[in-house]
C-alpha cells in the first residue's frame, strides 16, 4: 500500500506530465494558475488514496449480490448441506481485500 506521501509524489508527476491544464470559468477557458496546479495534485493524491483505502467497500457491495440472492443461497445450503453462500462471501472478500 502506498502512503499518502507516495501518492502525492505520483500525482505531482502525473499533473506535470498532463500540463497544460485548463479550467472553464463563466465560459472563459483559462490555463491553471500555480495554485490550481497545487490543488489538482492534492485532489489527485486524495482521490487515489480514497480509491486505495476505501474502493474495496463498493467493489464488495456490488459483488455480494442482493440480499434476496444471498438468502436463496443460504436456503439451498440448508436444504442440501452445501456451503455456497459462505464460499461466495469468502471469495468476494478475497477478491476485494481490505487494505492492511
Amino acid at each position: 500500500m502506498a502512503t499518502l506521501e507516495e501518492l502525492t509524489t505520483e500525482a505531482t508527476a502525473e499533473i506535470e506530465a498532463a500540463k497544460p491544464l485548463y479550467k472553464q470559468v463563466n465560459n472563459e477557458r483559462l490555463e491553471f494558475s500555480s495554485a490550481d496546479y497545487d490543488q489538482a495534485i492534492t485532489d489527485l493524491a486524495n482521490s487515489n488514496w480514497n480509491d486505495q483505502q476505501f474502493g474495496y467497500i463498493q467493489a464488495r457491495q456490488e459483488a455480494y449480490g442482493s440480499v434476496q440472492d444471498q438468502l436463496d443461497m443460504q436456503y439451498w445450503d440448508n436444504v442440501n448441506g452445501t456451503t455456497t453462500w459462505k464460499d461466495h462471501i469468502a471469495q468476494v472478500k478475497s477478491d476485494n481485500p481490505k487494505p492492511e
Binding site: 485548463y22 472553464q24 463563466n26 465560459n27 490543488q39 456490488e62
Partner: protein, 173 residues
Amino acid sequence: MAGSLVKISEETVTSAVASVTLGGSDWDSSYDVYILQISGLDVDTSNADLKLRFTESGTPNTTANYDSASKVLISTATFVNNTETNQTSADFSTNIGSLVDKRFNSTTYIFNANNSSEFTFYTSENTSMDSSRLLGKQGGGVFTVTSAVDGVQIIGDSTNITLGNFVLYGLKK
C-alpha cells in the same frame, strides 16, 4: 403564466478542461433555490467521475467540509451506497464511459446558497454509462460551512471534461 426557471448562466464545453465553474460574477442572489442542469457531458478517461465544490466570492472552497450520501443504481449489479464525510469536494457523479453514446446527464438542486447562517445543501440525480452498464445516482450532500456561496464548480476526478452543456437556473419565487 411565466416560466418559473430563470436562466442565470450557461456554459458549453467544447475543448478539454479540468473543471467548469458557474456563478461568481454571474451569480444572481435573488433566489432561494437553484438548479444546475448538465447534459451531454463527456470525459477523456473512461470510467472517471466528477466532484462538486461551491464557490465563495467566485473562488472554490477546498476545505474538508463536504459530506455526501447517495445510492448508485446499477443495471447489472447490486445497488451501492456511497457515503463520505469531511471531504475537500463532494462525490457527485456515477462513473462515466468516454464513448460518444455514454454521456452523463444530471439535475442538481441547490438550497440555502445565499444564507450565510446556514449550510448549503444539494440534491442530485444523474445517469450515465460506464464501460458497459447503465448507472443512476440519486442522493445529496451538504457544504458544512455557514457562509453564502455564489457558484458551483464541477471537477473531473482524474480526468478532463471534454464536452458538455451546463446551465444554472434560479427557481423563481
